[in-house]
Every structure is written in structure tokens, then in C-alpha cells.
Symmetry: C2
Subunit: 349 residues, 2 copies
């Protein structure tokens, strides 16, 4: 078996952690007798410094023929406004119709939790984030720009087709897990967007009588996540709410150093993309201390997507035993460098 | 001195906790020699059952001549869609141009915190929520309603005037507190709304050279709130982000049973409104176990707004010493009923 992977390390710690993920991938590829053909892409802020653009104009065409995209992190706010460095990320998600963003939050043994009295097993949930439309279509405009009467208009677009497919994706996952689904809404304040979400939940829930479903307003949901994380199984949310919920859920499960994600096009008409939930972390970039776990677990999610399930499990178990054995990078209160931690993970394979 | 207060207890626990707040208000009015003239309004779900509407058509005119509005909680989702029961709340905020929503989160002695290792004093922040526009203008519409091609459009409107005035309000407060201001943004994904916010922060920050200001994307800000709550002083956010941040911050400071809020029209052209951050909590309504603290502290904020600062401090201190003495309602792990807890607070006056 041979897989063509586009590797877009990106900015800041993105490149560092992606390098470690590749070490793991190469190690398991050998043992599981598959081959990875890597296209390493030097896009990001350095590319911008050399060429004036963060990615080449035809970047989507370059990515397109690959079986998957492994991304590190993008963004370098000191030099470019965020929306300039980050635009490629959102464009990949939308152009390749990677409409399901899957972000598990799983508190592993050996990982300290910010919440009082929670330990491994108490947090084991997955957030399914709508990834193709909603608040991220970035439509809008200006009135009276540059005057006292200036107004910014920002429009979100939620389609029946888009919301229905993400709800079904989440219900299918809940069916395979603990048969519980919570949908984020805010229909008490947004009577178009979230009334559509509410209506579709009411319509689709009866297709899954084996799954207990409910909705919570996003404000209450954020609060309940810190109160009772153990009550959640699958959470499904719009693009914006999914963004907010996954950062919080990731933090509760030990921090973004550990949180992987998939941006998947379930129909497989386009490559899916795998990336840590964290960003480029300019404050620790280049210091060799970033936690590579999120990137490594994202690589494992990629292998699972490619059908290399045994290899994916091998990586996940190795991460779990490495952490359980007390090996930790600084974000978790340890002293290991990025490379040293990966060395330990390789030993635990 | 005489103050005319509109009392809108509302639904569920709203009426119960408001009753307790009135007991406190009457007690301090006596000691501080001012008089409260109350207009008690029987609006909400019961009003709907009797008359077919949650509030009378002219409800804004009824409220208008008062010096302040004391609100309990609104909403009864089992019987009416949320946006029907809640509409009056958002309409009051917007019609009376109560553009600054002030929500302190202060971890008091004796209050358990969900975060590991945090104790009284570690959380002492105030969220200033833009309360008049943004994501809450509830503009939008439908395309192809009821068909497969159905699309819901939801539009947010942020004005230079609206954002500038809330930023200045927050900077003024930061100046009186710990000289630190954090603005929530999401300009990496919404290039109209939050670029306006970013630009205005850059423009206005130099007017307050004594205040250290920064911006954080709302996803990172939620995460940092659970990581490092002690790093925050004043947080300023849009209507939607403010809604989300205040539920989380309230939870970190002991739960919504304790979280008060002000919806203020700083120019005082209209009455301001004071209400707990919590909702009507149908699950515990009528059981007599709701925590009245948030309502009582909201009443204290009202007194401060009316100029009765000593009376406000008296209530706050009494709450603090009651909690420090270990008296607790069930939400905090105690056994006291709503009325019993208020009895303790009255004794500590
Ligand atoms: C970088 C940013 C545009 C992105 C998002 O908002 O989706 C990030 O926060 C994420 O969650 O992947
Ligand atoms: C009830 C609801 C409309 C309201 C809001 O979203 O503003 C509430 O959550 C709040 O925070 O006061």
C-alpha cells in the first residue's frame, strides 16, 4: 500500500511538531508494511517573506491529488494580520468540502486536569464541528467605511443540507460510541441560524431512536463542560461554536498540546486534512519545547482514515503509555523537549 | 430619597430569587433611610397562559418611567420556544440602550471552585459585554424555506459608535481596577465584524496609556480563562462572545447561582436593568432551593447605580461573610433552602 501525503508544516511550532509526527509515521509504516510518499510544502510566513504570498496561487491544485493533508499550524500575527496567514487553512477546509471537523477530547492517564477531582476516563467526548459554512463563510461588508457612521456587517449562512449532513455524521458517531448527542444552539438569540439547527435536530433525531439527543444553548454548554464533562459523549456544533467548544474541551483534557483533529470529507471526493487543534504558538516557537502529541495523534487519525487502523492504534497506545509512564513536556509540567518526548513515544511503540 | 423600581420576577426560579432580593433591599432601605416604590409586574409564562402574551404590548412604556428594573429570569422552553419567552429581555436591553452589560466574576471565600488549586482572590475579573447590537440584532432571513435548498441567513451588525463606546466603557473601568484589559476577537475568521473591533482597539488604546490592553481570539480566551483566570482583569467582548464568556466566568467563580449583572445605559436616558446571569432553571423551579445570591448581588449593583453605595456595600459584605461562614445552598454543596440562606444573609447585615 502506498499513500501520498501533502505535509504542510506551516508556521511557528507547526513545522517542529509535524517533524515529530513524521518520525512516528515512518516507524509504523515500516512495521505495518505500507509506504508514505511525502510532498513537503514550505508554505507559511517564510514563504511570504521570500515570495510575498503565504501560499502559491494554485495551492489547492497542488494539494488536491494527495490522499491526505498533514498540517502543523498556521499564523504569524506579529507580521501579518491573522486572516492573511490563516486564510489558506479555512480555504482548504471549504474548497475540499471537509465538512466534518472531528475533535476528540480524552483525558488520558498521567495527564493533569485543570478541573478539581477529574481523572482519566472522566473526559471522553468528541466534538463534531460543522466545517464548511455557518459563521465561517465570511460574507459581509462595510457601510460608511472610515467615517463616524461606519458599520461592519457579518453574515452567517447555514443551509439545510449543510446542517443535516453534519447532524447525521454526529448521530452515526454517537451510535458507535455512548449513544448520546448534545447539539449546541443559540436559538434564544438568533432566530434564523439556530432555529434551522433546532428544527433539523427535531427532524433527524427520530432516525436514530437508539441515540439520546438534546440541545443546549452554547453559553450553558460551555458552562456544563466544566461542571460535568463526564455527561457528554458526542457534541455537535456550528463552525463558530465548534471552534469555541473544542478549545475549551481540549484544555479540559490536558491542553491543546494533546488535542488532535480531523477535517474530513466523508464522501472522499477530496483529500481530508489532519492537524493539531493548537496554533503556531509564536511565544514558544523555535525553542524545541512544544508538545508534539497533538500532531502525532493527528497523524494517527490520518492513518485510521486511510484504513491503516492497526498502525493508528499502535501510535495512540504508545502515546497513552508514554504519558502514563510520566514522560511529559513542559506544558504538562515535565521537562522533556519536543524531540525527547517523541523518542520516548518511539520506544513505547 | 425615593426610588421607583420595576420588579419583573419572571419565570421559574426568577420570581423566587427576586422575592429574596426584595427582602434584602427592604432591610437596607430602612437602615440607610431611602425608600423604594415597587411596581411588581406579573409578566412571563403565567401571563401568557392567562392572556396569550408574555408581556403586554406596551411593556416598554410601563417600564420606562422607573429609576431601575430588577429582573429575575425569563424563559419557559417546555411551553414556548425560547425566543418567544426571551424576546422581552433582549428588547428591554436594546430599546433602553443598555449597551454596557457588566458581569463581575469574583471567587469569594467559602465558595468551592471547579478549577484545581484556585481559591478566593484568584478570580476577580469583570466581563463588559456589548449589549445593544452585534450578533443580537437578530437580522436575517430564509431562502427556499421548507425545501431541500433551504438556507438560513443570520446577520450581525457592529457599528463604530457601538464598539467604540463599549471599549471606552471597559477602559474606564480597567483604569479604576487593575489597569488591564483583554478584548475578545475572532478576526482570524470574521473579516468584517472583528476587524472593526481590532481597529477600534488600536485606535482607542492610546487614549488610555495607563491601561495594558491586548486582544485574544475568543477560542483562546475561553481556554485561558480556565488556565489562568488570575491573569484577567477587565474583559470586553461583543454581545455573543460576552454571553459565552460570562457563563463560563460565572461558573469558574462558583456557578451562576452567584453571578449578578447590570445592563446599564450609562448616559441614564433610560432605566438600567439588574438581573442574575442565570436563567429560569425549570428543573429546580418551585422547589425552594435556588440560590438567591445572584439576585441579591444584582440588587446591590442596582443600589450602587442609584447612588446608594453604602447600602450596596452592606449587602455585598453580608453575602461575603455569610458564604465565608459556611452557609450554603445546594448548588454549592450545602443544605439551606432559598429562604433559609437569605435569613442568614439578613442576620449578617
Ligand atoms: C486559526 C483559526 C482560523 C482556526 C479556526 O477558527 O477554525 C482555529 O482556531 C481552529 O480551531 O482550527
Ligand atoms: C436568555 C438569553 C437570551 C440571554 C442572552 O443570550 O443574552 C442570557 O443567556 C443572558 O446571558 O442574559
Amino acid at each position: 500500500k502506498l499513500y501520498r501525503i501533502a505535509v504542510y508544516g506551516g508556521d511557528g511550532i507547526g513545522a517542529d511538531v509535524t517533524r515529530e509526527a513524521l518520525r512516528l509515521l515512518n516507524a509504523v509504516a515500516q512495521r505495518h508494511a505500507f509506504q508514505l510518499v511525502l510532498t513537503e510544502l514550505d508554505w507559511g510566513i517564510d514563504h511570504y517573506r521570500r515570495t510575498g504570498v503565504v501560499v502559491p496561487e494554485n495551492f489547492l491544485e497542488i494539494l488536491r491529488p494527495h490522499d491526505a493533508i498533514l498540517l502543523g499550524a498556521v499564523g504569524w500575527p506579529a507580521e501579518l494580520p491573522d486572516h492573511a496567514t490563516l486564510a489558506p487553512l479555512v480555504r482548504i477546509r471549504q474548497a475540499f468540502d471537509q465538512y466534518a471537523c472531528v475533535r476528540p477530547a480524552w483525558l488520558l492517564p498521567g495527564v493533569p486536569c485543570v478541573l478539581t477531582g477529574k481523572s482519566a476516563g472522566d473526559i471522553d467526548l468528541v466534538v463534531i464541528r460543522e466545517n464548511s459554512e455557518g459563521e465561517y463563510v465570511d460574507q459581509g461588508g462595510w457601510l460608511h467605511r472610515g467615517t463616524d457612521r461606519e458599520v461592519a456587517i457579518q453574515t452567517a449562512v447555514h443551509s439545510r443540507r449543510g446542517v443535516a449532513r453534519i447532524l447525521r455524521y454526529a448521530f452515526e458517531l454517537a451510535r458507535k460510541r455512548k449513544q448520546k448527542l448534545t447539539m449546541a444552539t443559540k436559538s434564544n438569540a438568533q432566530r434564523y441560524a439556530y432555529v434551522l439547527w433546532d428544527n433539523l435536530l427535531d427532524e433527524i433525531a427520530p432516525e436514530y431512536p437508539d441515540v439520546a439527543s438534546e440541545r443546549q444553548h452554547c453559553d450553558a454548554l460551555l458552562m456544563n463542560l466544566v461542571r460535568w464533562p463526564e455527561r457528554f459523549d458526542v457534541i455537535v456544533a456550528s463552525n463558530l461554536f465548534g471552534d469555541l467548544l473544542t478549545d475549551l474541551a481540549g484544555q479540559l483534557a490536558g491542553g491543546l498540546g494533546l488535542a488532535p483533529s480531523t477535517n474530513t470529507n466523508p464522501e472522499r471526493n477530496f483529500p481530508s486534512m489532519f492537524e493539531p487543534v493548537h496554533g503556531s504558538a509564536p511565544d514558544i516557537a523555535g525553542k524545541g519545547i512544544a508538545n508534539p502529541t497533538a500532531a502525532i495523534l493527528s497523524a494517527a487519525m490520518m492513518l485510521e482514515h486511510l484504513g491503516e487502523v492497526a498502525a493508528a492504534r499502535m501510535i495512540e497506545q504508545s502515546i497513552a503509555s508514554t504519558l502514563a509512564a510520566g514522560h511529559r513536556t513542559r506544558d504538562l509540567g515535565g521537562t522533556l523537549s519536543t524531540i525527547e518526548f517523541t523518542d520516548r513515544v518511539l520506544e513505547h511503540l
